[in-house]
Point group: D2
Chain length 331, copies 4
């Protein structure tokens, strides 16, 4: 009974089907008919013009998007616990040619205008200090918390007022939209580029970088190839993404994962370290409690000395989820 990660979950049947259907001769790279559908599909989804490029991983999506916003001598404000800072093996340093991540604070890994300003305001506008050029936020955050449209608007307003680009790491964008119940466009309003994740949510190996600023996309086209991320059989990536968008599979999957997490969260009660708004549950569990749960067959990661992280997948087995909820309640 696996609650380690949504990262390695199964592939959704609709994705498999679309990939098989894509196995007909077509043009290589992103010149095929399927890849050419992406812009339209995302424009419809977000109800505003956008350009979308597929890549294989969230790290590539995040860093390629940022590489078009930030010059090598600039900086990106992100949360101290952001994925780009903590878990991408230094990829921002590589893709941004040495630009700097500027680490801000905020509860549950969410930024606020104040938290951002605390980093940005002390920077003198002189050449001795790296100047910020963009902000990157994560929707849902690394602690499974979601920016409300109003919170997002405040950050976007701050970004605009300072001339900073705004990037959203949406590795779990589906979970955020599922939680918010708003339109996809509202969940990323004011953002210049969104890394829209599918791999954690039923995809096999395809994420979309959605650009609401077309000029950025035109730079990233070159950067994607230069990074070795322009797959020659790109039609199989496009097919995955379209299959996830078709009939809102992405959203259904996000809801399913969220529901599983909510069930566990309800059982965890006061143990919760962060509000559970997406598909991750961070909770207090002593070493003995963790051992007890593991003895019952549950696998998950420790979180610090006295905690654990539980992640639910789009296809979480309801019996496993209930069992885990009961197991926690019974501790």
């Amino acid at each position: 009974m696996q609650f380690l990660s949504d990262n390695a979950a199964a592939v959704h049947p609709a994705v498999w089907e679309a990939m098989r259907a894509a196995d007909a001769p077509d043009s290589p790279y992103d010149n095929d008919a399927i890849s050419r559908e992406l812009d339209g599909a995302f424009t419809a989804l977000f109800e505003r013009d956008c350009t979308a490029l597929w890549v294989a991983t969230g790290t590539a999506a995040n860093c390629l998007a940022l590489s078009a916003m930030v010059p090598p001598h600039g900086g990106v404000v992100c949360h101290r616990e952001a994925h780009i800072e903590m878990d991408e093996g230094g990829a921002p340093g590589f893709y941004l040619h040495g630009a700097k991540l500027m680490l801000a604070e905020g509860a549950s890994a969410k930024l606020t205008p104040n938290g951002i300003a605390a980093v940005v305001d002390p920077i003198r506008d002189d050449v001795h200090q790296v100047q910020p050029h963009a902000i990157s936020i994560t929707q849902a955050s690394e602690y499974g918390c979601v920016y409300q449209p109003g919170e997002l608007a405040a950050i976007a307003g701050y970004a605009r007022s300072r001339g900073l680009g705004l990037h959203m790491d949406g590795a779990r964008f589906a979970n955020a939209v599922a939680y918010l119940g708003c339109s996809p466009g509202e969940a990323c309003s004011g953002v210049d580029a969104l890394s829209f994740g599918f791999v954690k949510n039923g995809g096999l190996g395809a994420e979309a970088i959605v650009f609401f600023d077309t000029a950025l996309a035109n730079v990233v086209r070159y950067r994607r190839k230069r990074a070795g991320h322009l797959q020659s059989k790109g039609r199989f990536l496009a097919a995955q993404i379209l299959a996830m968008l078709e009939g809102d599979v992405w959203l259904h999957n996000g809801r399913a994962a969220n529901a599983a997490a909510a069930e566990i969260a309800a059982a965890a009660g006061d143990r919760l370290l962060h509000p559970v708004q997406a598909n991750e549950v961070f909770l207090t569990l002593s070493a003995e409690e963790r051992a007890a749960l593991r003895a019952q067959g549950f696998s998950f990661y420790d979180w610090g000395v006295d905690g654990a992280r539980l992640v639910t997948s789009w296809n979480a087995d309801p019996d496993h989820v209930s069992a885990l909820a009961k197991g926690i309640a019974a501790l």
Copy 2:
């Protein structure tokens, strides 16, 4: 009847089957059971110890391999028409942090010790000139020509004598081995790292970087993640590669593509611009002749003013191939 490229050809059924079979929960990244089989599989194939890492594209494979051999202030000797120089959108400059490609000459895009020495020897060992650190060769070459073991030994000997690393771009390694009829190990003897291509030969989106020098692999593990090429569902890439190795699918596919090219080459006779040893046919065709063939339903790229490039795939339709051969013979 498509002879444009092997790049976008169909996926082999064994690859599909293996991918579907891999759709069971396992550890993410390359910690899954399938990924862990790669080293053994390639060690058996090459009959010497090696470490293999999957990546999605040949560009990533080539540049990651080279990034472990060449410091940012160094250079790589390659052919003036090498893929890394001509067709990778500047990826070597990115992955090698500004290291320099040093362009050598050689018939049919093959290097020779003399051709390499003509580039290397004039370089003074002083800090004003970039110093070479590696050589990259392509097996089969960009013109579909193959290094014989003796030719390879001569280059490897030169590399060793100068303390240079040796990388082989094997985007069409299968075609080369199929042509040579030797063991896979002989076809890359003396090489430190091989980009072993599967995508052009029946794969979907997986290539292997095979390191005969384990220290290089240990650097590239970090570089792969840093480049956003460590896919979380890496088991699907490993599965593709193992499926291609299993029962020598890779070699059968290479032979099939070569045979198709050979049939066309036989019909082309004196028109051939390069010996046909793999799955590419470069031949003289006037604009009128090209138009005539295209009118018969054949699609292919122009090659210069009076030529064409025909590429055959692992699943080339024998009727199409025969028709093209006849069409050319009839010109």
Copy 3:
């Protein structure tokens, strides 16, 4: 009466004299007779074999030294307020090709093994996290505090135990040695490369990178040229450095600046924010007090809301220093 910085102070007469004497034809770059004396001069000074390269600035010295210790995918542990983090305009990101600065805490901008371990220990040895490859410390620190030989030995021991390189930013190394009263070699014992500063201490535009590990120097020779820091009339940089070493001008100058700071510190008493061990005085001064001192003709930088930074130069005017000390005492 200027206490803003030692950065723009006058050039020592011995430096001018040596530069004029160097204005005779010789080989360009560092092939001249004067540049060739550097290794010997520093070897004598440090009483162990070393190789020294001149560069124009401390930023170049620091970043070139580190570039030979840290691969692009690695990291450098430094203090959160280190010059390389705060004041070099992102130069480490540039010179280290995107490697990461890992920020540690410590009183008065000095690192300790515990402070370093607090950063290093939580890093899992996997590819998702940047791995440390070096430590950089500043002697004297950005708050004018000095590592005692024992403190240095503890850090060097930690570095060795973790396989990390050790770099010392010695922009104010002279002040540190003057304070310690030990031999120059003791003040940088265990270090692999030292940025030995002269510009703040009477030089015009020359710093030395002193390598106790010759292999590093041989890499940096190439990197220096590649960074445009190999001046063709390098003899003028070498001449500055030799003039500063000759007769221990560097040490006399360091002592003079320290003495001036000590005089001010004695007057500041409880106002001191950090021990005064070099030529910088950080003290509590209210806005009114600062205004009062400025009205008396003293110029200096604010330090936060209620503080000031006073820096003394090698040629600080004793009357100005006494006047400032009195002015502070009288507040």
Copy 4:
């Protein structure tokens, strides 16, 4: 009797005098009064608005200027024998973060629109090939040949028509203007940024990057610091440059060096390999002839098997020059 290089020649007395005069307290970096005079001085010289930044070397000047014109995924067209390609230790790869030098042909190391187009035209506008973003030319060229205003206008027109930036490496700009007899502005008309060299012409360690496009300068301010080229005692660099501009010392020095080269060229007659328009003489000399001249006390570099390069300095001794001219005539 030294004809090896102008690189290591003596410093002009006016430069020494200005440097000594600059040894008074002022603000650090480029905030001093002298540095602030540069924009005005160059605006007067070039008779159009410009912004000028000092740096220590020509390599830094060239690469910083280009770094503001060319993104990391782009390319720069330059001559196959350009200094940036041949002699800067890979600095363009470093400063431009892996952008590519695209090598064009042209007599005497001069580019022409046709030579540039031969490189640019075959590049498909797709992501597989690096796209050009700028052209770099050298005035006077690496073979001491000068672009006439008409030639320059043709290249500038081509650059504009393709949307490419235009950079001029003016390491020997003084020699070019001296030869042309035109205004300085005419000698670099149409150029976006000029590396104006002083070090080979009487300076000690200061070159100017002159931007006719102010937006570029504002980027390079950050890049200069990031490259460790913002010297804290920058007033000494500014002073050198102003001293060279004052009373047209730069032009007088250029004329003197040119005159010396012309005297030698006249003696060389049919031996000349390139027209002698600046201060370099490339001529045919057999090994025996070179030995004979060296036996007479002349030092110079071989140029290939049967040639030599003679470079004259601003302060070439007339007796040495006449002796060399006679020596060559007598061969």
